[in-house]
C-alpha cells in the first residue's frame, strides 16, 4: 500500500508545442505523458526532445507525475530521447509498442545505465509499457513481469485495432478481449492498469460510457488526449458517497478490532477482514484525492505499527 499513486487520468501533451507544455502545471490530471513519438513530426524530433528537456528543467515545483513517451527503441530516435530527457528527471518513461518482455528489459538496462551515470537511485525512473498490438497483448503477462520498474500496464487501442486490421467502434466490443487480458496481467502482478484514449474530444457521453466500462472491468485510470476530458474521467473514478461512508465505517471497525486484539470484526452483520479493509483503504485514498474526505487514512491504525 505504501507508495500508492493515484493515476486516474494520464494526459498526453505534444512535446513539440511550447504553448501546450507551459499549460502542464495548470491541469488537474494525475499524470502527464509528454509525447515525443506520434505527435511529433520527423523533422521536429530533435527540437522537441530539447524543448521537453528545457521545460522539465524549469518546471521545478512539479505538481503531478511526469512521464515522457519516447520513440520506440528500435528507431533511431528512441535512445537519443532517453539521453537528452533523462537528465531533466522525468518520473518515468512511457514505452510505446511494448510487444515483448525483451523490449522492456532492454529499456530497463538502459535506464539503469543512465541512473548510474546521473548518480541517482537505481530504479528511480519508472516504466509504463504500452501494449498496443496483438503481440503485445498476447505477451502481457511476460511484459508485466519483465521489470520491477513497471508500475502499470497501459492498453493502446488505436495501434491495437490497426494491428488487428479492424475498425474501432464507439462501443468498443472489439477491444473487450484485449482489454481484459492486459488487465489480468496487471492485476496478477499487483500493478495498475490504464485504459486507452478516447479520441473524440467532443463526445463527453461516449467518453463517460467508455470510462465507466473500463472502471467496471478493473482499470484504475485512462489516457486522455484533451484536458477537457479530465473532469469526466475523474468523476467516473470518484467513489460514490455510499462507498465512502461504508469505507469509513470499515476503517473505524477495524481500528476497534485492533483495540480488541483481533483482525476480524463484524459490521452490519457482515465480516470485515483484510480484503474488505484493503478495498476500503483504496476507496478512501481516492476519496481524499477528490476532496470527499478531509484526511488521509492512518495506515498504522489499519495495519498496525510496522
Amino acid at each position: 500500500m505504501a507508495g500508492f499513486k493515484l493515476r486516474r487520468s494520464l494526459l498526453y501533451v505534444p512535446g513539440n508545442m511550447p504553448s501546450m507544455l507551459q499549460n502542464i502545471p495548470i491541469f488537474n490530471c494525475d499524470s502527464v505523458i509528454i509525447d515525443l513519438e506520434d505527435a511529433v513530426p520527423l523533422s521536429e524530433k530533435d527540437a522537441a526532445r530539447h524543448l521537453v528537456k528545457r521545460f522539465l528543467l524549469n518546471y521545478t515545483d512539479r505538481n503531478k507525475e511526469l512521464l515522457v513517451r519516447i520513440n520506440p527503441l528500435d528507431t533511431k530516435w528512441g535512445y537519443e530521447d532517453l539521453k537528452v530527457v533523462l537528465p531533466a528527471m522525468p518520473d518515468g518513461i512511457r514505452l510505446p509498442k511494448a510487444d515483448t518482455p525483451e523490449i522492456v528489459e532492454r529499456l530497463d538496462t538502459l535506464l539503469t545505465e543512465f541512473e548510474e551515470e546521473l548518480e541517482v537511485e537505481i530504479g528511480r525512473f519508472g516504466i509504463l509499457p504500452s501494449l498496443e498490438s496483438a503481440l503485445g497483448v498476447i505477451n502481457a503477462v511476460g511484459i508485466a513481469n519483465s521489470s520491477e520498474r513497471i508500475f502499470a500496464l497501459a492498453f493502446g487501442a488505436e495501434d491495437y485495432t490497426a494491428s488487428m486490421e479492424i475498425e474501432r467502434s464507439r462501443g468498443g466490443e472489439e477491444l473487450f478481449n484485449a482489454r481484459t487480458r492486459v488487465l489480468w496481467a496487471a492485476k496478477a502482478k499487483g500493478i495498475q492498469a490504464v485504459d486507452t484514449i478516447f479520441a473524440d474530444v467532443s463526445d463527453m457521453e461516449g467518453l463517460r460510457a467508455e470510462t465507466e466500462l473500463a472502471k467496471r472491468l478493473g482499470y484504475t485510470g485512462k489516457c486522455l488526449v484533451n484536458p477537457r476530458q479530465i473532469e469526466v474521467v475523474h468523476d467516473v473514478f470518484a467513489p460514490k458517497q455510499h462507498e465512502v461512508e461504508y469505507a469509513l465505517q470499515v476503517i473505524e471497525a477495524i481500528q476497534r478490532a485492533r483495540q480488541l486484539g483481533t483482525g476480524v470484526i463484524a459490521l452490519g452483520g457482515k465480516m470485515v477482514d483484510a480484503p474488505v479493509v484493503k478495498r476500503a483503504a483504496r476507496v478512501l485514498r481516492t476519496a481524499y484525492a477528490h476532496g470527499m474526505v478531509d484526511t488521509l487514512i492512518d495506515e498504522e491504525a489499519i495495519h498496525g505499527a510496522q
Partner: protein, 512 residues
C-alpha cells in the same frame, strides 16, 4: 495635481470642471435633489410626428455647445448616432458633446466630425478607434469614462445635463410610447434610455417600426417624449452580440470556469435565494453552466439573474432556477425575445440597476458577480478600460458597480493574454478598486483578497490552488517574463470616473 487614495495623480480639473479624487468606494455621499427638466404641455390633437431627423434636431432647439444622448442597446449594430451626428454637422452646429450610454466601434464614422469640431467631447466611455486615436494624441476630445450606474447618477444629479435625447425605439406609436421588445430592430431592454427620457430637456423617439397607438407594454411613456421620427432602419440587431455567446471549449477557459464555480460554492452562496450576474464571454458562460448544474443538482431555487442578460440566463429562468431576471440590457437575441414573452424577465433602468445615489440599486442585492479584466494588480485593482499598449479601447460597463454591490466579486481571466501576464505590480489604468474585488481566478491559481479570509481558508481546505497574488504573479512571469512599463506623456486624454463621481484614474497620451 492631487493623489487619490490609490496613488494615482489626478488633475484638479478636466474639460473645465473640477475633479474629486477617489478615496474609497462608499465615501462620497449625495447632496441636493434630483435634476429638474422643463414642464411641458401638449394639448389634445397635437401632432408629435416630424418628417426627418433634421427636422427633429431643429425642433429640439439644439445649439452649439449642447449635449446629446443616445443609448447603446443595439451596440455595434446601432445606426442612429452616426446619422444624428451627420445631420448635426450638415446643420452647421459645432462643439456638441455626446453623453450616450456608450460608444462602439461602429461609431468610428463620427471621427471626421470630431476633427472638424462638430463634436467637442464625450461624457461617456468609448469602445474602439475613437479611444485609441485619443490616446495616441490624434484626436482632441475630452472623454469622461463612466460606469453604467455612474452615468445614471451623473444624469440624475444634473452634473451631466442632457439637452436632447435621441432614443432608438424599436416599437413606437405616434404619441411616443415605446418599448424595445418588438420590430425589425428589437433590442430588448431600454434600461439606459429610460434615464435619458426622464431627465433630458427634450426627447426625440426615433423608430423604424411605427405601430398603432398605444404600444403595449410601455417601457418609456408618451409623457416624456416630445417628438417622434420614423426612419428606414435603426440598426442591425444581429450585432448586439459583442462577444461569443457560447460556453468556451478552450481547456484553459474551462479550467478557470471550474475554479470560479468552486469558489462560489465554497463561499456558501449557492443556496435558495442565490442571485448572480455574469457577462456573455465564453468563460463567464462556462461558469454559468457549472453554476446551473450545481443549482439543478442541489435543487436550488435562485432569486434573480442580473445585468446584461443572455439566452443562458433566459434558459435558467424558464427552467425555474431563478425567480426573475433584472435586465438593463439584452446581450443576445434570445434575451430580446424573452423580455417580450416572460413576465418575470423584468426590464430595469440603469438607475435601478446600479446608481449608487438612490434608495438602493439592484447590484446591492447581488450575491455574486463574474467579471473580466485586461489586467489585475497585486492590490487587486482591475483594469478593463485600457489595453496593455495603453490605448483606451473599452468602456467600464457595470464592472465597478457590481463589484461594489455584490457580496462576492470574482475576476476570471487567463493568466497570460497574448504574451503578457495578467497580474501586474500596477495596472495601466484603475477601473475598479481592489477593495471591491473578492477573488481573482486564473487557470494557474486563485488569489483571494484578505477581506475574505474565511473563504480563503475554505478554498484551501477544499484543496483548490490558492496562492497569494504576488506568488501568482511570480509564477506567471516565470513564463512570460516581466513586461517593460509603458511610457506616457503628461497630457490627460480621458478621466476614469468611479461610480460616485470621484476620479479613480486618468488615461494619458501614450509616448510614441
Amino acid at each position: 495635481m492631487a493623489l487619490n487614495s490609490l496613488g494615482r495623480e489626478i488633475p484638479e480639473s478636466y474639460a473645465g470642471k473640477p475633479l474629486i479624487p477617489y478615496s474609497d468606494p462608499f465615501a462620497l455621499r449625495p447632496q441636493g435633489k434630483v435634476a429638474a427638466r422643463p414642464l411641458k404641455r401638449v394639448n389634445p390633437g397635437a401632432n408629435k410626428r416630424l418628417s426627418s431627423l433634421r427636422e427633429a434636431i431643429e425642433a429640439s432647439g439644439l445649439k452649439d455647445g449642447m449635449t446629446i444622448a443616445t443609448h447603446h442597446s443595439l451596440r455595434n449594430g446601432d445606426f442612429l448616432l452616426n446619422r444624428i451626428v451627420a445631420e448635426i454637422a450638415a446643420l452647421g452646429l459645432k462643439g456638441i458633446w455626446i453623453a450616450s450610454s456608450s460608444v462602439h466601434p461602429v461609431h468610428a464614422e463620427i471621427i471626421p466630425h470630431i476633427k472638424s469640431g462638430v463634436i467637442a467631447g464625450f461624457q461617456c466611455g468609448v469602445n474602439g478607434l475613437i479611444g485609441e486615436m485619443a490616446t495616441k494624441g490624434e484626436l482632441s476630445c475630452p472623454i469622461v469614462v463612466r460606469t453604467h450606474g455612474g452615468r445614471a447618477r451623473s444624469v440624475i444629479e444634473g452634473s451631466v445635463p442632457i439637452d436632447v435625447a435621441f432614443i432608438a425605439a424599436p416599437c413606437c406609436d405616434e404619441y411616443g410610447n415605446m418599448n424595445g421588445y418588438y420590430g425589425p430592430s428589437a433590442c430588448g431592454s431600454l434600461g439606459y434610455a429610460q434615464i435619458d427620457a426622464t431627465y433630458a430637456s427634450c426627447v426625440v423617439a426615433v423608430t423604424d417600426n411605427l405601430v398603432p397607438f398605444p404600444v403595449v407594454p410601455v417601457s418609456i411613456p408618451q409623457t416624456l417624449v416630445d417628438y417622434v421620427v420614423v426612419v428606414d432602419r435603426l440598426g442591425d440587431p444581429a450585432k448586439i452580440v459583442s462577444t461569443t455567446t457560447r460556453v468556451t471549449t478552450d481547456p484553459v477557459g474551462l479550467q478557470i470556469a471550474s475554479y470560479a464555480a468552486q469558489v462560489i460554492e465554497a463561499a456558501g452562496l449557492l443556496r435558495d435565494g442565490f442571485s448572480f450576474q455574469t457577462g456573455s464571454g465564453g468563460i463567464s458562460l462556462a461558469v454559468a453552466e457549472k453554476v446551473r448544474n450545481a443549482m439543478r443538482k442541489g435543487s436550488i431555487k435562485g432569486s434573480f439573474g442580473c445585468g446584461g442578460i443572455t439566452g443562458y440566463f433566459v434558459d435558467m429562468l424558464e427552467e425555474g432556477l431563478f425567480s426573475a431576471l433584472m435586465d438593463v440590457q439584452c446581450f443576445d437575441q434570445e434575451a430580446v425575445q424573452s423580455i417580450g414573452r416572460n413576465r418575470a424577465h423584468q426590464e430595469i433602468s440603469a438607475d435601478m440597476y446600479a446608481n449608487p445615489f438612490n434608495a438602493g440599486a439592484v447590484v446591492n442585492r447581488l450575491d455574486c458577480v463574474i467579471l473580466g479584466a485586461t489586467e489585475v494588480d497585486t492590490s487587486f485593482n482591475v483594469n478593463v478600460n485600457t489595453e496593455s499598449n495603453g490605448y483606451l479601447l473599452h468602456n467600464t460597463g457595470g464592472h465597478s458597480d457590481t463589484a461594489a454591490g455584490a457580496k462576492l466579486s470574482i475576476i476570471v481571466a487567463p493568466s497570460i493574454r497574448g504574451r503578457l501576464p495578467i497580474v501586474r505590480d500596477r495596472v495601466t489604468t484603475i477601473t475598479t478598486p481592489g477593495e471591491t474585488i473578492g477573488v481573482v481566478v486564473t487557470e494557474r491559481g486563485i488569489a483571494v483578497n484578505d477581506k475574505h479570509a474565511e473563504l480563503k481558508e475554505e478554498l484551501i481546505r477544499r484543496k483548490l490552488p490558492v496562492k497569494e497574488i504576488e506568488e501568482l504573479q511570480r509564477e506567471i512571469c516565470r513564463v512570460t517574463g516581466t513586461p517593460r512599463p509603458l511610457e506616457f506623456e503628461d497630457e490627460v486624454v480621458a478621466v476614469i470616473e468611479y461610480r460616485d463621481g470621484s476620479i479613480i484614474d486618468v488615461v494619458r497620451r501614450v509616448k510614441e
